[in-house]
Symmetry: D2
């Protein structure tokens, strides 16, 4: 007996839940948890079903053939996702991920860390994770990204996590991993797009600062948002204090976003996400 997750996505019409759960029932698959959402404006149906039982090989196809044309049906095995982490010099997000990976009670494993500086090698190697320096110096952005892709290639990760990787990626890179690159941005997007968000925040005199985890698309800082959160600040905060206070919220937002993605709780449609938090 296995536990698997069925992810269904198709144009909405009457009777979808009954059809899908009916097929589950015919194979005596027990529904542990079922969550659905209909995007009314877009007439789209999304469902995540946690199932337990013996899965016949034909099961996903049976489900697919019961659904409207163009349905996406995925049956996900329960296994830890493999991650490659990309970093620059800040340690707080990476450190948090390394600790959680070490503790082992998470649904991912870190295959490798890639940095464009060597700063975080020592920390990474403390946890016996391979660290690859791929310096951007003397390289065009295209060459640099291609070198990183070569390193990534040897690890076959499910997802690439930009844990404060501070450089812009090429379209070639981004398109090589569609919906598989997750970034943590240090502002509550769409406020303060681009560089130095904390300085922008300080200059605007805001009373809250935040962080946003999102999938990376070709449009900088405009990919589908997975999770956001904020904390309150006041006039006592300099831009540097905001950056310091923001670290906690950055790693927490990234942590939550990864939880959702690793548990196959996130659907992407257009520039939006459905996140079944429970």
């Amino acid at each position: 007996m296995e536990r698997k997750i069925l992810l269904t996505e198709c144009p909405d019409e009457t009777g979808l839940i009954a059809r899908i759960t009916g097929i589950c029932g015919r194979h005596s698959l027990n529904i542990i948890k079922n969550t659905e959402f209909v995007a009314n404006q877009q007439r789209l149906f999304f469902m995540r079903t946690v199932l337990e039982g013996d899965f016949p090989e034909s099961f996903p196809d049976e489900v697919r053939s019961a659904l409207p044309q163009g349905a996406s049906v995925r049956l996900m095995a329960s296994r830890r996702k493999r991650l490659v982490i990309m970093v620059t010099r800040e340690q707080h997000c990476l450190g948090d991920l390394l600790l959680k990976n070490y503790a082992g009670n998470v649904n991912f494993e870190i295959a490798a860390v890639i940095g464009n500086y060597d700063t975080l090698r020592e920390l990474t190697e403390k946890f016996a994770i391979p660290f690859h320096l791929v310096s951007h110096e003397d390289l065009t952005r295209e060459e640099h990204c291609r070198q990183i892709m070569k390193v990534i290639g040897q690890y076959e990760p499910d997802y690439i996590v930009l844990a404060k990787y501070m450089r812009i990626l090429t379209p070639e890179f981004i398109n090589a991993y569609p919906s598989r690159i997750i970034n943590i941005h240090h502002s509550f997007l769409p406020a303060f797009i681009g560089a130095r968000p904390y300085e922008q925040a300080y200059n605007r005199g805001v009373k809250i600062i935040g962080a946003t985890a999102h999938f990376v698309t070709e449009h900088l800082d405009e990919g589908p948002i997975i999770e956001q959160d904020v904390i309150k600040v006041d006039h006592n905060y300099t831009a540097a204090d905001m950056a310091e206070a923001g670290r906690d919220i950055e790693r927490m937002v990234l942590d939550h976003a990864l939880n959702y993605v690793m548990d196959d709780k996130v659907f992407i449609f257009g520039n939006r996400t459905v996140v079944f938090r429970n």
Copy 2:
């Protein structure tokens, strides 16, 4: 074509979702929204299904007969719930409810307000809602509660809301409206049970204060919790400042709890609730 809400609650077993949604499908009832929860420890299944279509009279019975012994099946019409509000002297929760009732974009209507003081008559009557003074003076608690019950009786409310009603109710009263009395308590229960929670909070030197909306049972402050929230305080707050700051959170927690209950999103089991917030 109507919109109704099907509430199902029964011992958990395999195939429940398929059976229920199958019956919906056979009657061409469109599922607008479906939310389910299985309490694993207690082996209980809960489901809330928003349906649209033409409902045959036999529909709830059909569902019931497809479910295990002891299933509870309720088909709720989409209509505003009727409320009787009970108050003492504080206006913030009542005022908020009166405003929302007046605006009309809520899922309840206030049938009447009952006070054990006359303080809030003027405010209530501004909104053309009947106000009944039922003073507790010179009455035993039993007599007082019975007089209130008599007033309530003429309004046949769906729910009774204690919007800062500061007296203890008799078991007779409470048992007359099982799972239909909602109270707002001015602490994050179970902290500071009983009287003067803000003074208790001040004396303990806490850094957060809160509010709890719960169903009223015979056990004071121990009924099933519907919603809770908190705000941060610090050493600058006296007990009176905490009470003042607490008012916002009290009315917001009560407001959210009522939203959930009025939309038939809340199940009670034992001393706990299932709240389908979406």
Copy 3:
């Protein structure tokens, strides 16, 4: 014996606190609360001192002469500020202010309400507050604003509160009440500047929505921010649901901002504020 608030603002230099509190001491003025802030980058000093005692007429001048050139020294009497509220058609912020004004335990009094529609007359007049309809129809923006200014003139308010007033004001209007117009904007600025922020938020797929209370300057939505807050949303929220959920946060943010301003806890410098929350 009176209670007054001394507000000091000047270029920073050594010894300011000692000088100011020394003068207070010489007049046996008891310091109930003292809060100070130095904006290091701008080299500016701000202090708010709550004093009790008998104030000689010369007191503010004495303080001023002890401070560097260009110091601003204000001695505020403890009295309720007078407000004129401007509205369009939404009632939630106005309703909240009317209730608080009626309860009387706030530091403001509402002198009048001005609407560009007649929608909120009934609600306003329930509380015996004068309501003025100043329709914008068939008027240029300049003429409309001048008519409003004429109405405002007869009330001599301390502050003008835009409680969901949905039209743009002329520079002439804004400059007539410098630092005295407070607006509630329905987004966490600087995200979603301009019209229909909830639709913008929905389209961007954000996971938090917010509200911002700020002073109005000639630059639309760019005035000094007094207070901001957010709530979490998810894929279940349509733009309309976000607007509905946003109402609570709008009125709470406005409420907090007014508290601070009415208690003389807010300094403006450049496009920023110092808010002594305690």
Copy 4:
């Protein structure tokens, strides 16, 4: 030129701020930041003054002699506080502290970690911090605590941090480090005092869970609270899920509390704290 922090605490009377800041001025000490609080009910005055300049040796005595009988005056040098961390088996709080200590941008340094199990030795030693196993097995509580005290003695820490140390300490231990032991408790105290707070929380059906950092006194879970925070949960959370979700809030609350204490921002009086967060 040095930076130091002056902490003053005495019975309240008129003129205290002027006297203290006057003495600072006479020695040309520049006030970088001044925060004061008067506990009216208890008639106590607290002030924290960040000063820059050349401090004459007599400075604290001068201040003391200007204040009422019984004043406490402390002049704190700007230096990192030394910590000894005590743990049992859970790694999330310790891991976070080790990472921050490693990053080095905090106001403490970890001198050693003491565990009553060996579980966290590996993690600790990764960061080149000494780990001491002091097993409680076959020892009375008194003997165990004394052995720990002996280890602590060799490090002369400023504070002892119980980072999920799950055993009760003896009065002898506690009294050896008055106001110098900081504990993180996994509930929003005073709710769920004692063992297994998450199970208690689950059984009560609460909708929020929290964490509390407090100074340890002889009265279990009743010492002065430094910081508290909560997160929302719902019916989907088992007791184990709550514990998991609680970890984030535990380490964040502990982190904030340590920030405040290490920066000398916390005063204790009776069973309460004054925390100058800014």
